[in-house]
Amino acid sequence: SEHTGRLHSHSPSWDFSSITDEDELSAVRYRPERLDHLEQKTNFSKKELQVLYRGFKNECPSGVVNEETFKSIYSQFFPHGDSSMYAHFLFEAFDTRNNGSVSFEDFVVSLSIILRGSITDKLNWAFNLYDLNKDGCITREEMTDIMHSIYDMMGKYTYPCIGDNAPMEHVDNFFQKMDKNNDGVVTIEEFLETCQRDESIMQSMHMFDSVI
């Protein structure tokens, strides 16, 4: 859509007054860095970058993704539940420059970390995702939000039924596991330490080996 790349959100309703001539001029066109630069920056090969870019540009012809498009793309993978909250957190994590849009570089750099990075990098990235206000520690409220967003993606029809307390219990579980000094927040060191000692997490990390 021609609104991709605009930095402010636009209401979708057919409000005649809001469509002015100006709107058409302010659509942003964005071109990514050169292929070889990106290849150096990330751990992807040229071919992989080509495939990624083709998919990216197909969905976002203007070259950047805004949050709405991001959410709509992500929601297509999770038709059962509501993935908008989690997509929002993801967007925040991808948008490293905090300007409301994700360019191809941001996209591919983050992907490179998640898929091809070292274990530490991956865990760092996950921590960054959880740390909503980017202050270096995960509070209970932040974790609760994340947990709710994850459970929302499941939708209503699950077995067994998701109780109202399930997210909270899960958060408690998490803090019990991660918060070593019981100060109510999880810092990056605690996080890294616990995860690296946790076998199931380490095993799960291998999931990313074959994604691309």
């Binding site: 898929l115 990235w125 959880y130 994850i150 076998e199 199931s200 999931m207 994604v211």
Partner: protein, 647 residues
């Protein structure tokens, strides 16, 4: 999962990193990408136009032809391309669908051609993008209407046996079908006109008699007008009752608009008859006479244009409703304003708001009778605003109604034109079809000839003949032969068939050979025709001549029994040769001539046409073959001769 975002699946899977640290158990093992499929370019060759795209592009929609393994059927190993023998222009928009995720409908494309392409490539039309969907639906609806129109015409054409009631109804609905109907149509039209004219002339002053002032004609020649009225009402009543009787669904007929008009046209007369003695209800009686003018609406059965107008008004009901509503609003507003504006002036005609309605209506419709005129300045100002706005309010819905009328009218014109063209079209189609039927007969003749010649070892002739028909034709003819064999009936052509029908009607079948004893009596045309045909021949009567020499066979006959079929066909052959000689001499269109040789029992039955279902004839053994064995078998089997008429 959906469509174009398949390319984002790696991202979605990467995003799962957020779940892993909070999960209490390890994630399941990921599926290995089997045979790391590189993204390769696929070449789609559509009638010579090469389209190239990534394989993954096509894989986005796995439930279509191009996205599934179905396209492997079209893969050409030699050129390493997928070849489709379809229209490249239409393919362009289909391939764009894979690329962009949106299916567009190109406006210049014919709707049915496009539909066919979509069906071929396994794409449902519902996913056409919003930009093109309306256009697509409109065109499709138009096409359907057109086809429906044509089908309704066809319904008219075919007349199976209809009983009297149905015939009558059909005569009423389509006057051009029979002369009686046409006469009826014109007579009723005439009487409607007479009736309306009478009603009008009744009120004209007729010239004064000696002692009285001008009287309307109606009062002067009361008896004459009454007789005229009675006659018209008689006719209308009879017509209504006849229609009621003939209607397939009486209840629906009684609810239809035309019948209500009919009733309203004739009721006043009867009510008047009943009530004419009572003086105090004469006022009501006079009102009733007004309803007689509705007879003029009966003309809408006679006029297509009137019906279209009525239909247009019905379909524009919402626009008319809007017009009425806005007018009412405006009238009330302006009447109120004018009333209060003119309240001050003396001897003002604007005595109340309802009284001002009249002024407002007259002004808004720009009539301006002048019987009510504002005198104050304020009144004049508002009066002028009123007239200006009246023009606008009325002008708005009118173009909608006009365009609706125009569209319906043109549709009607088109269907009339198509009906006229249709006859010529059908005739041409029939000619081309019968060409192919004749080809079958022709080649059958040649084919049979082939076989016979084959058996007698003249190979050069055989080769000559086989060259004349293409492989496709010969395979087609073989197929028809198989059908004939299966049903043990043969194809004949139209002329034959009709001749036979005529002859059945005309003649009874003369008794034949002794072998045919019991089954002779009620045979069909074949025998009768044979009989007729046989007379000029010296060997006219079938009985004595079946020794082996050629029998003449006017129509195609087949013995409908399994076993003796060869033998029967042999006798048929015999017959046929005779007939062929005869037919050729008469220069008829029938190609049943097959030259037969006495010895070989050729298996092909003779038949002409490709279409008509076989007509069963009562059992008749016509076979008078030379060999006694054949004779006995035919008679014992009680074979039927069946004649199949052609297209």
């Amino acid at each position: 999962m959906a469509t174009g975002v398949a390319a984002w699946l790696p991202f979605a899977r990467a995003a799962a990193i957020g779940w892993m640290p909070v999960a209490n158990c390890p994630m399941p093992v990921a599926p290995m990408a089997n045979s790391k499929r590189k993204d390769e370019l696929i070449i789609l060759n559509v009638s010579g136009h090469r389209f190239q795209t990534w394989r993954t592009t096509l894989d986005r929609y796995p439930d279509t032809l191009l996205g599934s393994s179905e396209k492997d059927f079209f893969y050409n190993e030699e050129i390493k391309e997928y070849f489709f023998d379809r229209d490249p222009d239409a393919f362009r928009s289909i391939l764009n669908f894979y690329r962009t995720g949106k299916l567009h409908y190109p406006r210049h494309q014919c709707i049915s051609a496009y539909d066919e392409e979509l069906i071929f490539f396994g794409i449902i039309p519902e996913i056409i993008g919003d930009c093109c969907y309306e256009e697509y639906k409109d065109r499709k609806r138009e096409n359907l209407e057109r086809l429906q129109d044509d089908q309704e015409e066809n319904k008219d054409m075919k007349l199976p046996h209809m009983n009297f009631r149905e015939t009558m109804w059909r005569a009423f609905e389509n006057p051009h079908t029979s002369t009686m109907a046409l006469v009826f149509y014109y007579v009723t039209g005439f009487f409607i006109a007479i009736s309306v004219l009478t009603n009008v002339v009744e009120t004209v002053p007729c010239g004064s008699t000696a002692n009285q002032k001008d009287m309307p004609c109606g009062e002067r020649y009361t008896v004459a007008f009454f007789c005229m009225d009675t006659a018209c009402v008689m006719i209308f009543t009879v017509e209504y009752l006849l229609r009621l009787f003939a209607a397939p669904s009486r209840y629906r007929f009684m609810r239809s608009v035309m019948s209500i008009i009919d009733v309203v046209a004739i009721l006043p007369y009867y009510i008047g008859l009943v009530m004419s003695n009572n003086e105090d209800v004469s006022g009501a009686f006079v009102t009733l006479r007004v309803f007689r003018v509705f007879r003029i609406f009966k003309f809408s059965r006679h006029s297509q244009g009137l019906r279209i107008l009525g239909y247009t008004l019905k379909s524009c009901a919402s626009e008319l409703g809007f017009l009425l509503f806005s007018l009412t609003m405006a009238i009330i507003i302006f009447a109120t304003v004018m009333f209060y504006a003119e309240k001050g002036s003396s001897s003002s005609k604007f005595t109340s708001i309802p009284a001002s309605f009249w002024y407002t209506i007259v002004t808004m419709t720009t009539l301006g009778y002048g019987d009510m005129v504002p005198k104050t300045i304020a009144g004049k100002i508002f009066g002028s605003i009123c007239s200006l706005s009246g023009v606008l309010v009325i002008a708005l819905p009118v173009p909608v109604i006009v365009s609706n009328f125009s569209r319906i009218y043109h549709q009607n014109q088109r269907s009339d034109k198509r009906r006229a063209q249709k006859k010529a079209r059908l005739a041409r189609i029939r000619i081309s079809k019968s060409g192919s039927a004749n080809a079958f007969l022709h080649s059958k003749r040649n084919g049979l000839l082939n076989e016979l010649l084959e058996l007698t070892d003249t190979e050069e002739d055989e080769q000559k003949l086989t060259k004349s028909t293409s492989l496709l034709e010969s395979q087609h003819h073989h197929l028809l032969n198989c059908l004939e064999k299966t049903t043990a009936h043969a194809f004949v052509d139209e002329q034959m068939y009709e001749q036979n029908c005529l002859e059945t009607a005309l003649q009874t079948y003369p008794s034949r050979s002794p072998s045919l004893s019991s089954h002779d009596s009620s045979v069909g045309t074949c025998c009768s025709r044979r009989g007729k045909r046989n007379t000029p021949l010296p060997s006219s009567h079938p009985v004595p001549t079946h020794q082996g020499p050629l029998q003449e066979l006017s129509a195609i006959h087949i013995q409908c029994c399994d076993r003796p079929s060869h033998t029967a066909s042999r006798s048929n052959l015999n017959r046929k040769t005779d007939e062929s000689g005869r037919l050729n001499s008469k220069g008829s269109r029938i190609t049943t001539a097959i030259i037969s040789l006495p010895s070989p029992p050729a298996l092909t039955p003779d038949a002409d046409s490709l279409r008509r279902p076989p007509q069963r004839r009562p059992p008749l053994t016509l076979g008078h073959p030379a060999a006694p064995s054949i004779q006995t078998t035919t008679s014992s089997a009680g074979t039927n001769i069946v004649k199949v008429s052609s297209l």
